[in-house]
């Protein structure tokens, strides 16, 4: 029978690509037997990137560890929406202690497992950007520096969402939050020096650091998989759009996440022992405007008189990333 060419009309997703792959290469999410570590029924908003990211990451980690996984969670949206007493969405042993101590709690769990001779059980700590880059930063750095056997995952939605969208040190310049209102001479968040926690993690020369996006499931799962093959301190920073805080449409979560990557604002890379070993080249480059325009937190930059200067400054950040992380397609 002659080969018949098939046309794919679906663009902008990797779904079709997944189906064409050999089964062993398909995503964990595509597998009917995925664990749904964070099960349905939780209270996240529609289109919540953090809920998506957490399920992606933990299902992958569960598969990688043959379901031998314990998670420690910082206070934040993920914790609140997943465990309204007496319900829980967690299908894995899971613990929440405080906002700023997830990394230390995980260290304690890992230490207990070690003395108990249960080293097949692996430990994940997870928190939002606030719980990671701000209040939990000392505990995180301590865990890194001791090279404790913990994978820490930061779900970065670029603000304190659980308390109503206040600025964190991960909030991007110009973004409107409840504490950086779109008012005054310089509306939105100020242009500070930035705080790139993946790079800071690398400065600890821990065995593995990666950034990931909910828009690139294959890449995200591969990074979690790789992290689980390594012992010692590991860090994955996942970009997770928050429709409520960003003022984006719930159905646009993946689109927004993808544009963050394609614009160069959120570079995807991985590093081992402090050296970058791979970065994801951009198949197609998007202007930052395309990303910003989908989000009401940046709406003060547009409208009748667009704030060209500020947009240009944000574009410059993206361009610098593209150069620094070698994102230009070959």
């Amino acid at each position: 029978m002659p080969l018949q060419p098939i046309k794919f009309y679906q663009t902008g997703t990797f779904t079709v690509g997944n189906r064409l792959l050999d089964e062993s290469q398909r995503t964990v999410q595509a597998n009917m037997r995925r664990t749904n570590s964070l099960n349905s029924g939780h209270r996240a908003c529609q289109g919540c990137g953090e809920a998506l990211g957490a399920r992606y990451a933990l299902d992958a980690a569960m598969q990688a560890t043959k379901n031998r996984l314990i998670a420690a969670n910082a206070t934040g949206c993920l914790e609140v929406f997943s465990t309204p007493y007496p319900e829980t969405s967690w299908q894995i042993p899971w613990m929440h202690s405080l906002f700023g101590n997830a990394a230390s709690v995980a260290t304690g769990i890992a230490a207990a497992l070690k003395v108990k001779g249960k080293q097949d059980v692996r430990v994940i700590a997870q928190g939002g950007d606030g719980g990671t880059t701000d209040i939990g930063f000392a505990c995180l750095s301590g865990m890194f520096e001791r090279n404790d056997d913990v994978l820490y995952i930061c779900y970065d939605n670029e603000a304190y969402m659980n308390t109503g969208v206040q600025r964190s040190s991960a909030t991007p310049p110009a973004a409107r939050t409840a504490t950086t209102p779109a008012a005054g001479a310089h509306p939105g968040n100020s242009f500070g020096t930035g705080k790139n926690v993946p790079l800071i993690a690398m400065a600890h020369r821990i065995p593995f650091v990666a950034t990931a996006s909910v828009a690139n499931l294959h890449d995200l799962e591969a990074k979690v998989n790789k992290a689980m093959t390594i012992h010692g301190a590991r860090y994955i920073h996942i970009h997770v759009p928050c429709p409520l805080g960003w003022g984006s449409h719930p159905s646009d979560t993946l689109k927004v996440a993808r544009l963050a990557v394609e614009s160069g604002l959120f570079p995807l890379f991985e590093a081992e022992h402090g050296e970058i070993t791979a970065s994801l080249r951009l198949r197609k480059k998007a202007p930052v405007e395309a990303y910003l325009k989908l989000q009401r937190r940046f709406s003060h930059l547009f409208g009748e008189k667009p704030d060209r200067d500020t947009i240009a400054m944000i574009q410059a950040i993206a361009d610098r990333n593209i150069e620094k992380f070698g994102l230009e397609s070959p």
Binding site: N67, R68, L69, I70, A72, N73, E79, V80, T83, P84, Y85, P86, T88, W90, Q91, I92, P93, W94, M95, H96, S97, L98, G100, N101, S104, V105, A106, T107, G108, I109, A110, A111, A112, L113, K114, V115, K116, V121, A138, C139, S141, G142, E145, R146
Partner: protein
């Protein structure tokens, strides 16, 4: 085995006999010698099957203990003063989660002004955190209380603080009986958690609880402390049966027969108090004392029973509840309600101010003459206070209080008589 040991070393040996599986600590005077000794024991293998973790803060220290305890390991940490306050959020959390962590407090004052010496301000600041608090009178008792603390904590699934006076006990060399390992093993069974992070039986620990159930969860925490009121004496008598000495319990009465004046206190100052009582008894004074070992839970009935026949009560406190008086007095007065006795609060020994026999005797004599105020301060230098009050009245920019007071005094060392 009898040994001449520094208190901290003895406590560390007691901890080691309890076979903790995770020990984590951050250094602060006067707790350091305890954790240094444990670090060494883990390194040399004397304390086997134990992870010793050097953390970056007290907040992390207790957080590591929280994780380790929830994963089923017997967990221990120690701190003092600023360190205890720095971990405050985790202190409440450990109790709320019902994790049987044991923590030594090397009792020390809280700044400002920064001060490394002993008083009870630190553990008192955590008195309502949901931890059981036991106060040691001697280093022997400090060691013994730790062994009892693990048993108590694990029986109730409730964390226990063992409060040991900084320097006065932690750095004092005393003759101490170190228990035999087989006796400790027989006394303290392995940790069998009521909740544990287990892949074969996954649970979620630390859920969010709203108004619909929060009060019940908190009440159950209170119930644990009520149960401890029963358990602490039981454990103490089991301890004395096995180890052939008395340690712990709820309260320790001393020469109460016919006592008209009873002195109530926590911790090591009971030693000095007893010396003064012996002296005064010899001179015919009807005076006795009551050491409170268990401050949380507060043994209202035992205290009442011990005090009810007295004519007056003097409550000596190494902690000032600023704006009110003394936290120990709150409990003692509650235990006295309806008896007609009210109790005199005397704040003493703040920031390491020596509590001398001479001062105590003068105080007790004054008490016997019913000349004590409801709130009094032992050896407070009113002249210095008045100089500063005058200064503040005269000049708006009178400057930092601590520095002014120090200037009025001259050299510091000469004050510690």
């Amino acid at each position: 085995m009898l040994q001449q040991l520094e208190g901290s070393r003895a406590i560390a040996q007691g901890i080691a006999l309890c076979k903790p599986e995770v020990v984590c600590a951050y250094p602060i005077t006067p707790q350091t010698h305890i954790v240094e000794a444990l670090a060494e024991m883990v390194r040399t293998g004397e304390l086997a099957n134990c992870e010793f973790i050097n953390v970056e803060s007290e907040f992390a220290a207790l957080s590591v203990a929280i994780g380790a305890s929830a994963a089923g390991a017997r967990s221990y940490t120690a701190t003092a003063s600023q360190g205890l306050l720095y971990m405050c959020e985790a202190v409440y959390n450990a109790a709320g989660l019902g994790l049987p962590i044991v923590m030594t407090i090397g009792n020390r004052a809280i700044g400002a002004p920064i001060n490394i010496w002993n008083d009870h301000s630190d553990s008192m600041a955590m008195r309502d955190a949901g931890w059981i608090q036991l106060y040691a009178e001697t280093n022997q008792e400090a060691l013994d209380l730790h062994i009892q603390a693990f048993k108590l904590a694990e029986a109730l699934s409730c964390p226990v603080m063992v409060c040991v006076d900084g320097f006065i006990l932690t750095h004092a060399y005393e003759r101490i009986e170190i228990p035999e390992a087989h006796d400790v093993d027989a006394f303290l069974p392995p940790y069998d958690p009521v909740q544990v992070l287990d892949c074969n039986d996954p649970v979620s620990i630390g859920a969010m609880v709203g108004p619909e159930a929060f009060a019940e969860v908190k009440y159950l925490q209170h119930r644990k402390q009520l149960a401890a009121l029963e358990l602490i004496p039981e454990i103490a008598s089991e301890f004395s049966a096995r180890f052939k000495r008395d340690s712990g319990g709820l309260v320790k009465p001393y020469r109460l027969e016919g006592a008209e004046t009873i002195v109530v206190a926590l911790g090591s100052m009971n030693g000095t108090i007893k010396d003064v009582i012996d002296e005064m008894r010899n001179e015919g004074h009807a005076i006795g004392s009551l050491a409170i070992v268990s401050f949380r839970p507060f043994p209202l009935q035992a205290v009442r029973a011990a005090l009810v026949d007295a004519k007056r009560i003097v409550i000596l406190e190494k902690s000032l509840s600023v704006g009110l008086g003394g936290p120990l007095s709150d409990g003692v007065r509650k235990s006295l309600s309806g008896t007609g006795l009210h109790g005199h609060t005397v704040i003493a020994g703040l920031g390491g101010r020596a509590i001398t026999r001479k001062s105590l005797k003068a105080l007790f004599v004054k008490a016997e003459m019913d000349e004590l105020e409801l709130l009094d301060f032992l050896d407070l230098d009113r002249d210095i206070v008045n100089v500063q009050l005058e200064r503040e009245k005269e000049t708006r920019r009178s400057g930092p209080v601590a520095e002014n007071v120090l200037k009025s005094i001259g050299t510091v060392a000469s004050r510690i008589a």
